[in-house]
Amino acid sequence: MGDVTLEHVSKHYDDVTAVDDMNLDIEDGEFICLVGPSGCGKSTTMEMIAGLTIPSEGKVFIGDREVTNLPPKDRGVAMVFQNIALFPHMDVYDNISFGLRLRNYDKEEIERRVERAAEIVQLQGMLERMPDEMSGGQRQRVAIARAIVRNPGVFLMDEPLANLDAKLRVHMRTELQRLHKELDTTIIYVTHDQAEAMTMSDRIAVIDSGQLQQIDPPLVCYNEPANLFVAGFIGSPSMNFLDGEVTADGFSSTNIDVEFDPADLGIEAGTDVTMGIRPEDVYLVDDEALVSNPSRRIDAVTDVLEPMGDEIFVYLKLSESAETDLEDTSGVANDQLLMSVAPDTDIEEDEDVTVVLDRSRVHLFDTATGEAISHGIETAVQTSGAPGTEAESDD
């Protein structure tokens, strides 16, 4: 009943393609997060599911019905709008109960549900306020309450928590998860908050420029990004990327070489590849002796330190000329590396350090196409299986 399918859906505005040939198959009861850079088409996708925007091409299904041209009211969806859009002429109670009143629920039922929703979003006692007498976060919570009082087949939530503080957000997150479990409805959720996406969703759909990049469970997206874009987008701070080439010995770039057998991974030597490594997979070597293979050591100089409370981000310079460019977000910087270390680590700026990469978590991407080639050039010790078998069969 609540499965949502987009078939080759596109939406073109005058000169912009907001959504480009999107295929999406969301199962009944799934909790899907749409993530992607600003302007990538998330809201547009939501609107097409809700029926507020008619796709330029393609079909939308909800349940088994094609709903491409069905008006929103017949689609059985509830939506939290990114722009909140409270009814300015109604107080909070009327805003929240709007959808129920439309369906002629009886008064007590409405009251019960509104009370409950207000409790969930922690707005008890504010039911008689007008929207313009509330703070940004309070308004957003009204918008959430307005959606959750109903029992639709599909919930669409477009950044519902953007204006809430961390604590409330955690609270709302769990509330939404509970709701999801209780009602067993499909939830399609847009968020910019990685933690939200990671903790709440069954699957994450990563969108870029209107195109679906990957749709997979959170950890799969995190650990096995389908392409450079996903790899760079998921995870904060972003993955480190280094451009290089595959040589017979492995990966080679300006400052870092990683040796492996390209054949194991089924890559031909000479291919331009980009290596990716997450900050938390870069380890500080306290005792150099501990590193079995000396060639795996990387010497660097610490540059900027960013203490975050629960961890410290360390910007490493790999070469003399390197300069930490906090502005560069392309991610590819061959002479620097971001590392995260525990907050009690004894480290200072401009200190010579040695680091190693967790080889099981080194990602390789085809520089030209961006497609992932391999996630880990050596299987992690603990889950050690038969490294390279897949790659071999490919070769």
Binding site: F81, G99, L102, R150
Partner: protein
């Protein structure tokens, strides 16, 4: 200027309006009010006779001044049902009837027109002009059109007793409708509705256009049908505009004169303004000023209905 308090600032910005209204409206009204305290005078150079205090007002309400008016001011009351006789010969009754019906129908039709104009369709700019344009017709011409349509042996909407037209057959109007108060009033209302619905439509349309469209998105997703969207979003949000439109239409309708004069004449369909203008032209300045002030007073009473509504709308 910015460092003025809100109150000072408010009054500063109101100054132009208050000065204009003070000189062009309040000052004349004070002067006219003083005229209403003097007796009429028909001969000699002076406009007015001796000072009589509120006698003009007393006379007007007791009917003692009816002789000076083209028709009675108040209806004649009796103790028997239906309590009011000759309702159509009383300016007050005629004016109220005209006001109630014309404002009612203008609002309804204006609403309908605004709803149409609010839609997006091909050629809508022409439809819009077409619907608005009656409002641009001078009253003289509006009067002429409707006068001629209902002029026997000229217009096609009335016939003769031997050869009645459709409206005659339906019993809506007689064969000389413009000389009969009831018929003429009816036709004047129709003519007024034709012309002035556009006024309502324009204002209501503007109100609709000012609504944030994203609210409709919310309502649609919440499951609102078109009717519900209208009832719950459009209507409450344009209500202030509608009330303003109705308020001013009511005030205008209470002062109706031009269309009566051009279609049927003040003798046939006396309105309050008819009394004012006729006595003004006669010229019975004291009486005229009195009727003008009484008219304003009556309008104030009628309008208070709206004021209460406004207050509850928080305007």
């Amino acid at each position: 200027m910015e460092s003025l308090s809100e109150t000072q600032f408010a009054y500063l910005l109101l100054t132009p309006a208050l000065v204009l209204l003070g000189v062009i409206a309040v000052y004349p009204l004070v002067s006219t009010f003083s005229m209403s305290l003097f007796a009429d005078r028909l001969t000699g150079t002076a406009r007015l006779g001796e000072f009589v205090g509120l006698q003009n007002y007393v006379d007007l309400f007791t009917g003692a001044r009816n002789y000076a008016l083209p028709s009675q001011f108040l209806p004649t009351f009796t103790s028997e049902f239906p309590f009011v006789t000759n309702i159509y010969s009383s300016a007050l009754a005629v004016t109220l009837i005209f006001t109630v019906f014309s404002v009612l129908f203008e609002t309804l039709i204006g609403f309908g027109q605004a709803l149409i104009l609010d839609q997006d369709f091909r050629g809508r700019r022409w439809v819009r002009v077409a619907i608005i344009i009656p409002w641009a017709v001078p009253i003289v011409i509006q009067g002429m059109i409707w006068y001629l349509m209902f002029q026997p042996n000229i217009g096609f909407l009335v016939g003769t007793s031997e050869n009645p037209a459709l409206l005659n057959q339906l019993g809506l109007i007689g064969t000389t409708p413009l000389r009969n108060t009831a018929d003429a009033l009816f036709l004047i209302i129709v003519a007024d509705v034709w012309k002035t619905s556009a006024f309502m439509a324009l204002l209501i349309l503007a109100g609709m256009q000012s609504i944030d469209r994203s609210l409709y998105d919310v309502a649609k997703v919440a499951g609102a049908s078109r009717w519900q969207q209208f009832k719950l979003i459009t209507f409450p949000l344009i209500l202030p505009t509608v009330l303003v439109a109705m308020l001013f239409r009511t005030i205008d309708a209470m002062r109706v004169y031009g269309i009566i004069q051009t279609m049927a004449g003040c003798q046939t369909v006396p309105s309050l303004s008819c009394l004012v203008v006729t006595t003004f032209n006669t010229p019975l300045y004291g009486t005229s000023a009195t009727v003008a002030f009484v008219t304003a007073g009556i309008i104030a009473v009628v309008v208070s209905v709206y004021i209460v509504n406004f207050a509850s709308e928080g305007i």
